[in-house]
Structures are given as C-alpha cells and as structure tokens.
C-alpha cells in the first residue's frame, strides 16, 4: 500500500515521499530518492555501521529501518553536518586527527559518535564512547586515528 502523505524531516527540511513502497529502507530513501549520498551502504545486514544516521537524535542503522516506520520523524545524515553543531564538531575532530583512510566508513563513525555525545554528553568516559562505536567497522583498520578523533571530540573546542 502506498500512502502519498508520507513525509519525513531530513536535515531540517521536509521530504515528501510520494509513491514510496512500504518495504523501502531508510538507506535507499536517503541515497536514491533524496540523493543524499553521504550515507554509505556497506554490508546491508547491520554489521558494519556505515549506514548510520540519526533518527530523532538517536543513532540508527538505516539499512535495517523501514522508512515508513520512522515517518514523521526527524532524520539527520552526514549531509547535514554543517547545520548540526555536534556533527560539525565531530567532523572537525576527524579531520584534525586525520582519522580516515579510504573514508568509506567515516560518515557512519562521525554520525555514531555525534549520536553518543548527544546521548551521553561530552563528559562521557572515553571507554564508554569507544565501546559505543563497536558497531562501526573500518576495513582500512585505521582505529588508532579514530580513537584520537574520539578524544578530540570530547574536548570543548576542536
């Protein structure tokens, strides 16, 4: 059943989703319907975290989420980093720490860390933040630089 009234807030703007099939994943809505290619498709099985976005401020695997299930909600992706203070800070920390090699996993890491900082605050123990990033994989294995970015993102002014 398609419902032409479906709508979603994406990076602060309303996205109307006319004719969207019920089985469409949030990842596909973002990348193919809305053209927001910052969010990456990795495994499509919830293992790698590359597709992580924020739904109502909480990190969410967009490959395992039906768009209709978050209808009316507010989605923030890496494409909205310039308008979201926490995403902006974390992106700057990743840049400063040179915490990327091929960069494919980076949007997922940045969004997941921004979500953790929103949830737990910047004073959250670094161990808790690192534990909270266990769901994100970097196939280049550049974890040491990512850990430095986490430490930087906890500081007040990156």
């Amino acid at each position: 059943m398609t419902d032409d009234s479906a709508a979603l807030w994406v990076n602060g703007s309303v996205a109307r989703l006319q004719g969207m099939p019920d089985d469409e994943r949030l990842l596909d809505t973002l990348r193919w319907r809305l053209g927001l290619k910052g969010t990456k498709e990795g495994c499509r099985t919830g293992d790698c975290g590359a597709c992580t976005v924020l739904v109502d401020g909480k990190s969410t695997l967009s490959c395992l989420t039906l768009t209709r299930e978050v209808e009316g909600g507010s989605v923030t992706t890496i494409d909205g980093a310039s308008d979201d203070p926490e995403l902006k800070r974390v992106s700057a920390a990743f840049t400063a720490a040179e915490a990327l090699q091929c960069g494919y996993c980076t949007p997922g890491f940045v969004v997941a860390l921004a979500g953790l900082l929103k949830e737990r605050g910047r004073s959250a123990p670094v161990e808790e933040l690192m534990d909270g990033l266990q769901g994100n994989l970097c196939r280049c294995t550049g974890y040491a630089a990512i850990a430095r970015a986490v430490a930087l993102a906890r500081e007040d002014a990156p």
């Binding site: 059943m1 099939p21 019920d22 089985d23 994943r25 499509r44 099985t45 919830g46 293992d47 790698c48 975290g49 992580t52 739904v55 909480k58 990190s59 969410t60 695997l61 395992l64 989420t65 039906l66 209709r68 299930e69 997941a112 979500g115 953790l116 534990d131 909270g132 266990q134 769901g135 994100n136």
Partner: protein
C-alpha cells in the same frame, strides 16, 4: 526483496484483527525490525503483510515490588539506560548490552527478540535464569506463561495465531551475570553464552546456556548441585565439569563442539564467581 504491505494499527484490538485477517503462513509482526528485515532480505520469510506495533502504548518500563515489567516494544537501549537495572538485575543489563550495537539497540526490542526466538539470542538465556514470564494478548484474551514454556525451538514459539507479546516480567531482583564468547564484541553472535542468577527467596541458583541450536536451555540439575548459597570451589568445579559434559552441543560454522564444551565450563565458573563477588549470596 519481495514487496509487502505495512499496516500500522493504532490500537491493540486493531493489531489483533489485522493479524487475523490473513490466513496461511500468516503476516509478520515488526517491532524494531532488525532481525525480521534480514530474514526477508534472505528470503527465509516472505510475508505479504507486516503489522507494525509502533503505535501501540507498549514502550514502557515499570518496577513494582521488586518486579520489573518491560513493554514489548521498548527499545533495548532504553532498557539498558534504566538507572536501577545494573544494580537490581546486573545480568540482564549485561545481556542487553551484549546485543548488536548502540545503533541496533535504539530500534531492537525485548519483545522482538523473544518473538523471533533466535537460537543464539543473548536475552533469552538471561530471561530463563531470571524465571521471566511473558504476557500475551490475543483474540481469546490475555495469558501469562514462563519464557521457558514460550520458546519451543529454533525460531518457534507457542504464540497462537493473532497473539502478540505485550510485556515481559522479571519477578524479582537477583544478583546475576551474563558472559559470552564471540569473535567480535558487537554485532556478532555468541558462540556460547552463559547466564547465571541467584534467587534470594527460593533460595538457589539458576543457570541457562545459549549460543547453540535449537534453543537456549536451563541447566536445572547442575544449578541444584550448587546448593542454596555460596558453593565451595569443589562444588563449583564439579558443576562446571557436569555442565560441560551434559549440555547438548554441536559443531557449526561458528565453533566446534569441543570448543563450546570448554567454553560452557569456563564461562559458568566465571559467572558464578562474579555473582558471589556481588556479596549478595549467603554462605
């Protein structure tokens, strides 16, 4: 991915009715969807209709007289964040924390985990060791049964057609522990998981083992041998050896039978010692 129709009932009655409206293999129920959508992608299930529970008022958590009641659609992350859970039911907190990743737990639910009845569920062994019960609601009214009676085998439950899991109830706070072994800490499936709890009222131990087909199991005889309080090292070693020998295990792509047997004994010993270390088990 085969297309399906998603319906989002606003009331429990509507939800039950929309589940009954389709015959045959029946519609699927979606809470968080983190497990169901994988099965749909892999073609293991192809429901024509998916009934969403997101508008039902079941994202609840309540402590009354020491008993914990968790609404079936409460995200696991919200359960994990309950300020009383780590102190009152440490093993349950550990098992929730073991599921997937933060992003997955923002959507996955306790009801979904029970309803999907995965053989390697991390939550089911802990719920078994805590003597948890499920409250069901369906076309013929409500009923309550133990998690042990609810889970039948791999991916099979005793849910009747049109029935839904409304909530899960843990009857009392218990010193408890949940330990697992797997390749990756997050987003992986346990090769073996051991859940241990001590009931202060019975008094006595409960042990459950998960991570292998067809379903997580209670080791009632082994638990009884641990006695009614802190076991001696000798008793504990004997219990670990028995658990290792007696639990039904097999080899699969995740671990060999021999490795699993060693894990059961090792993890059980560590889990019992962790519960004793809480200081809440009488001598």
């Amino acid at each position: 991915m085969p297309p399906f129709e998603l319906v989002t009932p606003a009331t429990v009655d509507e939800a039950i009715a929309s589940l009954r409206a389709i015959a045959g293999s029946g519609p699927a129920v979606i809470a968080g969807g983190t497990d169901l959508l994988l099965d749909i992608d892999d073609g293991r299930t192809a429901p024509g209709r998916v009934v969403s529970l997101r508008r039902l008022p079941w994202r609840t958590l309540d402590w009354t007289d020491g008993a914990l009641t968790v609404g079936s659609t409460l995200p696991l992350r919200s359960l994990e964040d309950d300020p009383d859970l780590p102190r009152r039911l440490p093993g349950l907190w550990q098992s929730v924390h073991a599921v997937g990743s933060v992003a997955l737990r923002h959507r996955a639910t306790l009801g979904g985990n029970l309803g999907r009845a995965a053989p390697a569920s991390d939550l089911i062994p802990m719920l078994l060791a805590l003597d948890a019960e499920v409250d069901l609601v369906g076309p013929d009214g409500s009923r309550r049964l133990s998690v042990d009676a609810f889970i039948r085998s791999s991916r099979r439950t005793t849910l009747a057609p049109g029935e839904l899991i409304r909530s899960v109830r843990v009857p009392e706070s218990r010193p408890s522990a949940f330990l697992w072994q797997r390749v990756r800490p997050a987003n992986d499936i346990s090769q073996i998981a051991v859940a241990v709890a001590f009931s202060p009222t019975r008094p006595g131990w409960s042990i459950a083992v998960g991570g292998m087909p067809p379903r997580p199991v209670l080791l009632t005889d082994v638990a009884r041998r641990l006695g009614h309080g802190r076991p001696s090292e000798e008793l504990l070693r004997d219990a670990c050896d028995r658990a290792s020998r007696e639990v039904g295990l097999a080899s699969d792509q995740r671990a060999s039978e021999e490795y699993r047997r060693r894990l059961v004994g090792t993890l059980l010993g560590r889990a019992v010692r962790a519960v004793v270390a809480s200081g809440e088990v009488p001598s």
